[in-house]
C-alpha cells in the first residue's frame, strides 16, 4: 500500500475478502514504528489487541460473514475512553496502574463494527488543554511541523490520523478538543450534538459539555465513523432517545438552496490568513448554490468566560473521585485526609490543579450565584442567540481556531492565551450543537487551517453535506513529512 487510503475503501476491500485485516494492521504498525518516536501520538500502541481483532475480522470474512462497516480499519482511541484490561490514563499520573474492568460504549460499537483498536492516544491531562502539552507523558508533536503543537486536548488522535498511524481516530470535545486539533493537524474532526454519542466509559471532564466524535482524513470517512458510534445508549441517561441522523448516505446532496451564515464573532480574533481561508470557503459554498450572508450572534462573545466557569465547576466535582482510596495512584500518609492530599498533589499536573481550584471556587457558597449560576444564564443566552440565527440560516461558518498551530512551549506559561485558542469552538459545546472542522488549505506559514461548519441540534446530515462541499473546494495542503527525532 502507498499513501493513506480512505477507511471506506479499506473496509470495503476487507469485507470483500480482497485484503486481509492483518495486512492493513501491519502496514499501519510499520508507519507507527517509523514515525511515533518523533510524534508521540500514543500513550500505548495496543499491538496484540489489534492483532487479535484483525484475525477475528479475517476469520469472519473467511467464514462468509460480514465483520461490519469498519472491517479491518485501525482506529486510534483517545486515552480517556475505558478499554477493558487496557490502561486508560487520561494522560495523568493519578490513574497509574488502573485497568478498567469494562469497555466504553464507543469501544464496544467500534469492535462490533469490525474496527481494530490500534492504540490509546496522548491528550492533555484529563482533556484540560489546547496543545496536548499538559499530558503527564510528554507532548505530542504536530506531524506538519514537529516544533509545533498538534492542538488539544485530543492532540494524539489528531496527530495519529495526520501522520497516517491510523485512518480514523476517536476524540472527545468539551470546548473544542476534537475540532481545534483537527484544524491544527489538517484533518477532519467533528463534535456531534450533545447526547448523540454515548458518554458511557468516557472519563468525565465536564459532563454537560463532553461529547465523543470522529477524526478522519476525509469528510466521508468521518461520516462513516460517526454513523458507527452514534445512537441511543441506555447506559447514558443524557443519550438522546431518538433516531440519530445517518450522514454517510446524504454526503453528496450538495448545498443548493441552503443559507450559510458567516459568523462575524468567530472572525473577530482570527489571524488574517485564517479569515481569508474562511472567506474562500464561503465563496466556494456560494458557487455550489448556497446563499451566503454575514450574520452576528453577539452572545457568542460571552462563551469563553462562561465556559471557564462551567467546565471547571463540573470538573472539580468529576475529579474528586481520584482520592487514592479505590484505584490509581496512592501516596501514603499518616491519615486519610493527608493521603488524599498527598495523592492529589503528586497525581495531578498544574493545569488540572488550576481548574479544580477554579471550579471549587465558583461552586462555593457565596460565589456560586455570581459565577457558576451567572455562567448558566449566559449559556441560555447563547442557545437563544444561536436559535435566532438558525431561523435564518441552515448552518454557520467560521474558523475552527484563530491561528494555525503554535510553537511548542509558546503558551504553556500563559493560560489565558492558551484558553483563547478555543474561542471559536466553545460556543457549540455550550449550546450542545454539532460542528465540524474541515481542512481548508495552508495558512501563510504553510500549516493547516480548519474551517468550521456549525449547525443546530441534530443537524449532522446538513453539516456533513456542507462539509463535503467545503472539502471539495479546499486548496491543496501538503502531506506531512515527518522528520525523525526532531528536537522540541
Amino acid at each position: 500500500m502507498t499513501g493513506p487510503r480512505p477507511a471506506l475503501e479499506t473496509a470495503a476491500m476487507v469485507r470483500a475478502g480482497e485484503e486481509q485485516a492483518v495486512d492493513v494492521l501491519e502496514h499501519h504498525l510499520a508507519v507507527i514504528d517509523a514515525g511515533e518516536e518523533s510524534i508521540h501520538a500514543f500513550n500505548l500502541v495496543t499491538i496484540e489487541l489489534a492483532r487479535t481483532q484483525a484475525r477475528a475480522v479475517d476469520a469472519t470474512v473467511t467464514a462468509g460473514g460480514d465483520p461490519g462497516p469498519l472491517a479491518g480499519v485501525p482506529v486510534a482511541l483517545k486515552d480517556n475512553m475505558c478499554t477493558r484490561g487496557v490502561p486508560t490514563t487520561c494522560s495523568s499520573r493519578i490513574l497509574d496502574g488502573w485497568l478498567p474492568p469494562y469497555d466504553a460504549t464507543v469501544v464496544t460499537r467500534l469492535t462490533e463494527a469490525g474496527a481494530l483498536l490500534i492504540g490509546k492516544t496522548n491528550m492533555d491531562e484529563f482533556a484540560m488543554g489546547s496543545s496536548t502539552e499538559s499530558s503527564a507523558f510528554g507532548t505530542t508533536r504536530n506531524p506538519h511541523d514537529t516544533t509545533r503543537v498538534p492542538g488539544g486536548s485530543s492532540g494524539g488522535s489528531a496527530a495519529a490520523v495526520a501522520a497516517g498511524f491510523a485512518p480514523l481516530a476517536i476524540g472527545s470535545d468539551t470546548g473544542g478538543s476534537i475540532r481545534q486539533p483537527a484544524a491544527l493537524c489538517g484533518v477532519v474532526g467533528m463534535k456531534p450534538t450533545y447526547g448523540t454519542v454515548s458518554r458511557y466509559g468516557l472519563v468525565a471532564f465536564a459532563s454537560s459539555l463532553d461529547q465523543i466524535g470522529p477524526f478522519a482524513t476525509s469528510v466521508a470517512d468521518a461520516a462513516l465513523l460517526f454513523d458507527v458510534i452514534g445512537g441511543h445508549d441506555p447506559l447514558d441517561s443524557t443519550s438522546l432517545n431518538r433516531p440519530t441522523p445517518r450522514v454517510l448516505s446524504v454526503l453528496d446532496d450538495g448545498v443548493d438552496g441552503m443559507t450559510v451564515g458567516v459568523l462575524a464573532e468567530l472572525l473577530e480574533g482570527a489571524a488574517p490568513d485564517v479569515v481569508a481561508r474562511v472567506s474562500e470557503a464561503a465563496e466556494a459554498l456560494a458557487a455550489a448554490g448556497a446563499r451566503v450572508e454575514e450574520i452576528s450572534v453577539p452572545e457568542v462573545r460571552l462563551g469563553l468566560s462562561a465556559y471557564y466557569l462551567i467546565a471547571p465547576g463540573e470538573a472539580s466535582s468529576n475529579l474528586a473521585r481520584y482520592d487514592g482510596v479505590r484505584y490509581g495512584l496512592r501516596v501514603d500518609a499518616e491519615d486519610t485526609v493527608a493521603m488524599n492530599t498527598a495523592t492529589r498533589s503528586v497525581g495531578f499536573g498544574p493545569e488540572v490543579k488550576r481548574r479544580i481550584m477554579l471550579g471549587t471556587y465558583v461552586l462555593s457558597a457565596g460565589y456560586m450565584d455570581a459565577y457558576y449560576n451567572q455562567a448558566l444564564r449566559v449559556r441560555t443566552r447563547i442557545i437563544e442567540g444561536f436559535a435566532a440565527a438558525y431561523t435564518r440560516c441552515d448552518v454557520l461558518l467560521g474558523p475552527t481556531a484563530p491561528t494555525t498551530a503554535f510553537a511548542i512551549g509558546a503558551k504553556v506559561d500563559d493560560p489565558l492565551t492558551m484558553y483563547l485558542s478555543d474561542v471559536c469552538t466553545i460556543p457549540s459545546n455550550l449550546a450542545g450543537h454539532p460542528a465540524i472542522s474541515v481542512p481548508f488549505g495552508p495558512g501563510d506559514d504553510g500549516l493547516p487551517v480548519g474551517v468550521q461548519v456549525l449547525g443546530p441540534a441534530l443537524s449532522e446530515g446538513t453539516l456533513f453535506q456542507v462539509a463535503a462541499v467545503v472539502e471539495s473546494a479546499a486548496p491543496h495542503l501538503a502531506s506531512p513529512r515527518i522528520t525523525t527525532g526532531a528536537p522540541v
Binding site: 475505558c82 478498567p100 454537560s208 447514558d236 472539580s316 484505584y327 456560586m368
Partner: protein, 473 residues
C-alpha cells in the same frame, strides 16, 4: 420544646438507585458492586424506575404534592463516598408539602421527601472507632448507591412523645406502602432530630441542634429529652445555645458536640449533569397511587367502625386495634366480621392469640382463620379449643380447622351426649340444682365446671349454659 425530624429510609428495591447491582447490604463485603457504585472513571448513573415509584408511593402516603424534580451533586470527600459526591435531590425534590396524622389526630407537616443514594459503610480499626486515630479503615461499597428517601418534617412536634409517635407511625406507613422494611435497628430507617427550646409557645424558635445516631424509638425519646434539658440549663444559666450537630451516646445517655455550624461543610451543590430531570406525569402518579394499599390510619378507622357497629370500642379494644394494624393482621379481623363473627371476638382473638406469631398468622390462608373463628362463634369450639386449634394451624402452616379439631378430639360433643352429661350432673347434685332453679345463677358455673370435668374440657361452655337454661325451663 420544638422538634423537627429527618428520617432516612432505605427503599426495598431489587437493585440500587443508579445501577443494576443487587440492593443487598450485609452480603460478603464489596460483592454487590460495579463500575458505577464504585465510582470508577467513565461510569454514569441510570435512574432506577422502581425506586422512583416507591418514592412516589411514600409521597402519596404522606399526602405530598408529587412534582417535576431534579438531582444535584453534594460534594464532600469521604472514603465511603465512592465518587466523593452524593447524588441527591436538592432544591427541587420529588415530594413536597405533605402531612402525617398521629393516631391521636395531631398533624405533623411534611416539608419534603426526596430521593438520594446511600454511601458505602466504613469500619475503622483501632481503639477510637472513628476515622481519626484509626489504625486502618475498611470500606464496604455494597451499600453504596442503595436508594434512600429522606423525609423531612416541619418543626411541628412539641414533645418527645409526639416525636416517638411520629416515627412509629411513619415506620408503619413506610412498611404499608411497600417502600421499606422499616428496620431502625438494622439501619434501613435512620432518624436525625432537630431540637430547640423557647420560653413559651408564642416565642420565636430558639437555636436548634441536630442529633444524630438515633437507632431506636427509645433512643429518640431519650435523646430529645436530654437535649431539651441541656439547652434549657444553658439558657437558664445565661449562656446561649450554639447551633451544632450532636452525637447521641446511648450508653452515657447524653449528646456530644460533633461539629458546629461554623465548620459545616460547603457541599457546593450543583445540578447533576449526568442525569435528566425526573418529571412524573399525571398518569404515572395515578398508577402509583392506585397500587398503594390502605395506610395504617385508614386501617385503624376501618376496625373502629366495625366495633362501633357492635356498640362502640372500649379503651382496651382501641389498643387491640392499634396492635392488629401494626402487625398488619387487620384484614383477618375484617374478613372474619364479614363472615358473621362478632367484631369483639374477631379482634380479641387476633390481637391476643394471632398476634403471638404474626408472621405465621399473615402466612395463613384467611379462610382457615375465619372458619376457626366461626366455629368458636357458633359454639362448636370452646375458647380454649379454638386457641389450641389456632396454635396447631400455625405449626402446620394452615389446614382445615374442623379437621384439626376432630383430630385433637375436640369434635364438639353432639347435642345428645352433651345433654346426657348435663343431665347426669344435675341428677348427681339435686340440692344445687334446686337452688339454681330458684335463681342462684352463680351455680351455673358450678354445673359447667362439673360438665367440663366430665368431658375433660371438651364441652363448649356456651352450649352447657344453653342446656342448663333449657332444663331449667
Amino acid at each position: 420544646m420544638v422538634i423537627g425530624l429527618e428520617v432516612h429510609c432505605e427503599l426495598k428495591t431489587a437493585t440500587k438507585l443508579f445501577c443494576g447491582c443487587p440492593n443487598m447490604f450485609g452480603d460478603e463485603p464489596n460483592t454487590n458492586v460495579c463500575p458505577n457504585c464504585l465510582g470508577l472513571p467513565g461510569s454514569l448513573p441510570v435512574l432506577n424506575q422502581r425506586a422512583v415509584e416507591l418514592a412516589m408511593a411514600i409521597g402519596t402516603a404522606l399526602h405530598c404534592d408529587i412534582r417535576a424534580s431534579t438531582f444535584h451533586r453534594k460534594n464532600y470527600f469521604y472514603p465511603d463516598q465512592a465518587k466523593d459526591y452524593q447524588i441527591s435531590q436538592y432544591d427541587e425534590p420529588l415530594n413536597v408539602d405533605g402531612h402525617l396524622d398521629l393516631p391521636d389526630g395531631f398533624r405533623v407537616g411534611i416539608e419534603r421527601a426526596h430521593m438520594e443514594e446511600d454511601t458505602g459503610k466504613t469500619t475503622h480499626a483501632g481503639t477510637s472507632g472513628r476515622i481519626h486515630g484509626a489504625d486502618y479503615s475498611l470500606v464496604d461499597y455494597n451499600r453504596s448507591g442503595v436508594p434512600l428517601v429522606e423525609i423531612v418534617s416541619r418543626p411541628d412536634m412539641r414533645t418527645a412523645d409526639q416525636a416517638r409517635a411520629y416515627v412509629t407511625e411513619l415506620r408503619a406507613i413506610l412498611v404499608a406502602s411497600g417502600a421499606s422494611d422499616g428496620k431502625m435497628e438494622e439501619g434501613s430507617m435512620r432518624v436525625d432530630a432537630n431540637v430547640s427550646v423557647r420560653p413559651g409557645p408564642d416565642d420565636p424558635f430558639g437555636t436548634r441542634c441536630e442529633i444524630k445516631n438515633l437507632n431506636s424509638v427509645r433512643s429518640l425519646g431519650r435523646a430529645i429529652e436530654y437535649e431539651a434539658e441541656r439547652q434549657i440549663a444553658l439558657l437558664e444559666s445565661g449562656e446561649r445555645v450554639v447551633q451544632q450537630t450532636r452525637h447521641w451516646d446511648e450508653g452515657a445517655g447524653r449528646t456530644q458536640a460533633l461539629r458546629s455550624k461554623e465548620d459545616a461543610y460547603d457541599y457546593r451543590y450543583f445540578l447533576e449533569p449526568d442525569l435528566v430531570p425526573l418529571v412524573p406525569d399525571a398518569e404515572w402518579i395515578r398508577a402509583v397511587a392506585d397500587t398503594l394499599g390502605m395506610m395504617p390510619a385508614e386501617r385503624r378507622a376501618r376496625l373502629t367502625e366495625l366495633l362501633d357497629e357492635g356498640g362502640g370500642a372500649t379503651r382496651s379494644q382501641l389498643l387491640q386495634v392499634a396492635t392488629v394494624v401494626e402487625l398488619r393482621l387487620d384484614d383477618l379481623v375484617v374478613e372474619a366480621v364479614a363472615a358473621g363473627v362478632p367484631s369483639a371476638l374477631a379482634l380479641a382473638r387476633t390481637a391476643n392469640e394471632a398476634a403471638t406469631d404474626a408472621d405465621a398468622a399473615r402466612a395463613l390462608d384467611p379462610k382457615s382463620y375465619v372458619e376457626l373463628l366461626t366455629l368458636e362463634a357458633n359454639g362448636s369450639l370452646s375458647a380454649t379449643q379454638a386457641k389450641a386449634v389456632l396454635a396447631e394451624l400455625f405449626v402446620l402452616g394452615g389446614g382445615d380447622p374442623a379437621a384439626i379439631a376432630r383430630d385433637k378430639g375436640f369434635e364438639a360433643m353432639s347435642e345428645d351426649s352433651l345433654a346426657a352429661t348435663v343431665g347426669e350432673a344435675v341428677a348427681a347434685h339435686p340440692d344445687e340444682w334446686a337452688r339454681f332453679c330458684e335463681g342462684d345463677d352463680k351455680l351455673a358455673g358450678f354445673f359447667t365446671m362439673l360438665v367440663m370435668k366430665a368431658t375433660r374440657g371438651q364441652a363448649n361452655g356456651k352450649a352447657v349454659a344453653a342446656e342448663l337454661r333449657r332444663l331449667k325451663g
